[in-house]
């Protein structure tokens, strides 16, 4: 493996700004308890715009989980939950979060205590049980936002069901914060969210260019603001900056991976503790991961004329809440749009909704596009389920087969 710590793909200057943005955000969140600012823990696919509009600080255990994974502190936290009796088969984000609540461990010394919780099941069913545990542990109320699974198309009655929950959520937040919901403020936040999402989509689209100015290993890092803080002005500003840098790269002919020879699509959550090494492995062979199914999940559309209905629609349609047939369509459209040579799937032991069906998806994608697929087995933060030599072997063999 190439030297630890040295990145073979080109560094993005905006990274510093993002680090500052995220640091400020975590400092604000960590210092909120004891002030009048309320903290709400929210699942990664949850409708954060309501929280921002109510001036509540959203805290994302999953984003924190990624940080613990990247800093390689996740296993020790997960072990705490395992000692408490939680199964090793449980999602490692859930395990490490349960562990960090007890020990205050991890790269930022633990998450701030929540005042209430917002749990949306558009990503999985695990979050419900996980958040119920958190709710009991901290003795705080939880709002459960239920998004029906989409098999073929979104049904009108399902949308109405979700829209009504938006109304209930507003009521819940008013009660928890003691403040009144302002439609005006919400419209403002929704507008900014739309703008940030649009910029983020444009950032990701720059990878359509050959050679690509961006790899998904960059996108995994730079997605943090769109996940956590969309709806705020800083995020809009940040993605403007990032987009400008990517456009400048295209103009100057700078590619993310030196001598791009292969273009690949990535599926599933990153392997956080191995990102740098994997990024380097692909880069050393001239392979650029030009798109992925993960970062594009935060490209939700909200229409300002019908904010609640369009939000209901957007939050119901996320990648993990749709059938395999619809997933296949999305993967194929990424392969076509980014003119990719193949697909790399991370079979993630933690995330069942993401990983179940991957072998079928792989087969269907190959049948329809003729593009090869490599499946690697790992876990997003539990490195005990990862074997470096073996994953490397698979990836290298895959790249060799593309070469011949």
């Amino acid at each position: 493996m190439s030297e630890e710590g040295k990145k073979l793909y080109v560094k993005i200057h905006a990274t510093e700004d993002m680090k500052k943005l995220m640091t400020d955000y975590y400092i604000q969140a960590k210092t909120a308890p004891g002030t009048e600012k309320k903290i709400c823990w929210i699942t990664s696919g949850g409708p954060v715009e309501f929280l921002i509009a109510m001036d509540v600080i959203p805290v994302y255990p999953e984003n924190h989980g990624a940080m613990c994974g990247a800093s390689r502190t996740s296993v020790q936290l997960a072990e705490v939950a395992e000692e408490m009796g939680f199964s090793r088969d449980l999602c490692s984000y859930a395990r490490l979060d349960i562990g960090q609540a007890v020990t205050g461990g991890g790269p930022i010394g633990g998450l701030p205590r929540p005042d209430f919780l917002l749990c949306c099941n558009n990503i999985c069913g695990t979050v419900l049980k996980w958040y119920e545990h958190v709710s009991r542990y901290y003795d705080v109320p939880m709002f459960f936002f239920d998004t029906p699974f989409i098999h073929k198309e979104t049904k009108e009655h399902a949308l109405e069901y979700v829209r009504k929950q938006c109304v209930d959520l507003i009521e819940f937040l008013e009660k928890q914060t003691g403040k009144e919901f302002s439609e005006e403020k919400f419209a403002e936040v929704a507008l900014k969210s739309v703008e940030a999402v649009d910029l983020w989509k444009r950032v990701l689209s720059t990878a359509e260019h050959k050679p690509s100015p961006l790899t998904c290993f960059d996108a995994f890092i730079h997605m943090a603001p769109i996940v956590t803080l969309r709806g705020t002005q800083q995020v809009v500003d940040y993605y403007r900056l990032l987009l400008a840098e990517m456009e400048e790269r295209i103009e100057k002919g700078i590619s993310a991976v030196p001598d791009e020879r292969f273009r690949l699509v990535w599926d599933n959550i990153p392997i956080w503790y191995e990102m740098r090494n994997l990024g380097n492995l692909f880069a050393s062979r001239g392979a650029c991961l030009v798109a992925d199914t993960y970062t594009s999940a935060w490209a939700v559309d909200i229409r300002v004329d019908e904010p609640l209905k369009s939000m209901a629609d957007a939050y119901t349609k996320v990648y993990l809440n749709i059938s395999i047939d619809l997933m296949v369509e999305q993967v194929i459209s990424l392969i076509e749009r980014f003119d990719a040579d193949g697909l790399v799937m991370h079979s993630n032991r933690s995330c069942k909704p993401y990983s179940l069906g991957q072998y079928d998806i792989a087969r269907m994608v190959t049948e329809r596009t003729g593009k090869p697929v490599a499946i690697i087995e790992a876990d997003m933060t539990d490195s005990r389920a990862y074997s470096e030599a073996q994953v490397r072997e698979r990836i290298e063999a895959f790249l060799e087969s593309l070469e011949s």
């Binding site: 087995e377 290298e396 063999a397 060799e400």
Partner: protein
């Protein structure tokens, strides 16, 4: 042109020396705990057999899990590509290679020209590998080299439901305690391996002809069990353990001629 291929696996390290496409030296040593030394010893032994010094070699390709820790200059290529190339050389119309090595198992689909079109590996688990068979042979108190022949005498293979090495071992022990004959247990073990390998291999396109490589191919019981499970016959090269090293040597020759 003289080239070498060195395949450093988890259990054994192999080297093959080619002169103008002909094998003129080969070797096989135990890997032990030091794969760097094992690679070196395999190379030296093959050189000795070929009868020429290391600097007479124009190019070397190293493969296998130990390929990153060698002390001689070599290009590195994965076992998948090397096994495919080696099998294609020995059996030009091979389209499926089943490789059962010391600690992993693979199935590789080839196109007409021997290129890899798809592959699957089972590397998390010892089931079906040389290590698995070693544990089973030990539990049965049969020498590993006799396990295959012994199982052929079975008339009623004992079903072994688990392919997990740990569970299968205790299952074997309880079968012995129940008084089931060793040959029937051995045959049951081979059937369990065959089912396991089939389930893995079925994920890639399976096409005639089938070639089996790796050390486990020397176990006739496993070969027969695979043949009945896959409902086809397998070609087993005379030296199945050397196929990866042979492929590596062939690639070394190709790359050397591109360079020169």
């Amino acid at each position: 042109m003289r080239v070498a291929g060195v395949d450093i696996g988890s259990l054994t390290a192999k080297a093959v020396m080619l002169e103008d496409g002909e094998i003129i030296g080969k070797s096989l040593v135990m890997t032990g705990h030091n794969s760097r030394l094992a690679g070196r010893r395999a190379l030296d032994l093959a050189l000795k057999e070929a009868g020429f010094p290391e600097d007479a070699i124009q190019n070397i390709v190293a493969t296998g899990y130990g390929r990153l820790s060698i002390d001689f200059p070599a290009e590195q290529v994965t076992e998948i590509t090397c096994h495919a190339r080696g099998a294609h050389k020995i059996v030009p119309d091979a389209h499926t290679v089943i490789d059962l090595g010391g600690q992993d198992s693979k199935a590789i689909a080839l196109d007409d020209s021997g290129r890899v079109v798809d592959f699957v590996m089972n590397d998390k688990c010892a089931a079906g590998t040389g290590r698995f068979l070693e544990v089973m042979a030990h539990a049965l108190e049969i020498g590993i080299e006799n396990l295959g022949e012994a199982s052929l005498q079975s008339e009623e293979p004992a079903p072994i439901s688990s392919v997990c090495t740990v569970f299968a071992e205790s299952e074997v022990i309880s079968r012995i305690a129940e008084g089931v004959s060793k040959v029937d247990i051995a045959a049951g073990i081979h059937q369990a391996i065959a089912s396991r390998i089939y389930a893995m291999a079925a994920r890639i396109p399976l096409k005639e002809r089938f070639v089996m490589t790796g050390g486990v191919a020397k176990n006739i019981g496993v070969v027969k069990a695979l043949e009945s499970k896959f409902k086809t016959s397998f070609v087993v090269p005379p030296e199945p353990q050397h196929v990866g090293a042979l492929g590596a040597a062939i690639i070394a020759a190709e790359r050397a001629s591109v360079k020169s």
